[in-house]
């Protein structure tokens, strides 16, 4: 299937795949630390195992970004 992942066209094997499987394919080792947007909707992390990505879907994922200046 053809997907748009983070704004770029990509081809992924199969007719559909769960978000968590797609994150694994994209080598995301800590899926709890990413936010996923599927066709413009930000998913709850609890949906990652059930939400299916299909042909022509637009998926974006970005890591949580945060930190602090204590404990230098």
């Amino acid at each position: 299937m053809k997907l748009t992942i983070n704004g770029k066209p990509e081809t992924v094997e199969g007719s559909q795949i769960s978000v968590i499987e797609l994150l694994s394919l994209k080598n995301v080792k800590m899926p709890d630390m990413v936010s996923v947007q599927l066709n413009g909707t930000i998913l709850d992390r609890k949906q990652f195992g059930n939400a299916m990505v299909k042909d022509n879907d637009d998926v974006a994922f970005l890591y949580f970004m945060g930190g602090g200046s204590i404990k230098l």
């Binding site: 970004m65 945060g66 230098l72």
Partner: protein, 137 residues
Amino acid sequence: MIHIPQPVFQGIAEHAAEKAPNEACGYLAGTGTSICDRYPMTNIDESETHFSFDPSEQFAALRWANASGYELIAIYHSHPATPARLSQEDISLANDPDIVYVVYSIPEKVIRGFRVSVHGETGEKLVEPVETHILPV
């Protein structure tokens, strides 16, 4: 190595000064190792010692980068009162192996970049400095 044009560096410094004493943060975007522009982000922690990006704003930044023909190469945040190096908390919360983590220190007026990866066997976080060059106008 990353290259930051002087006007972008100046923008980071001004953003840091504007938000002080709170931490300022944002994305740096460009192509390859060359930063071309920055995308200031809201620090939803509104804190002097912490920062967090707003996820919905992150996706807006990604759309902006794609529309501009850029990649999101780095993130930056300011240390209002401490040196330009990653804190333990910065390291523990750094999970993207593909991005450069840039810190700007207000007292030092210095910017430094780092890459953070996870050791495959031990799970330990590895921090490597990334040469950060400011390009004169």
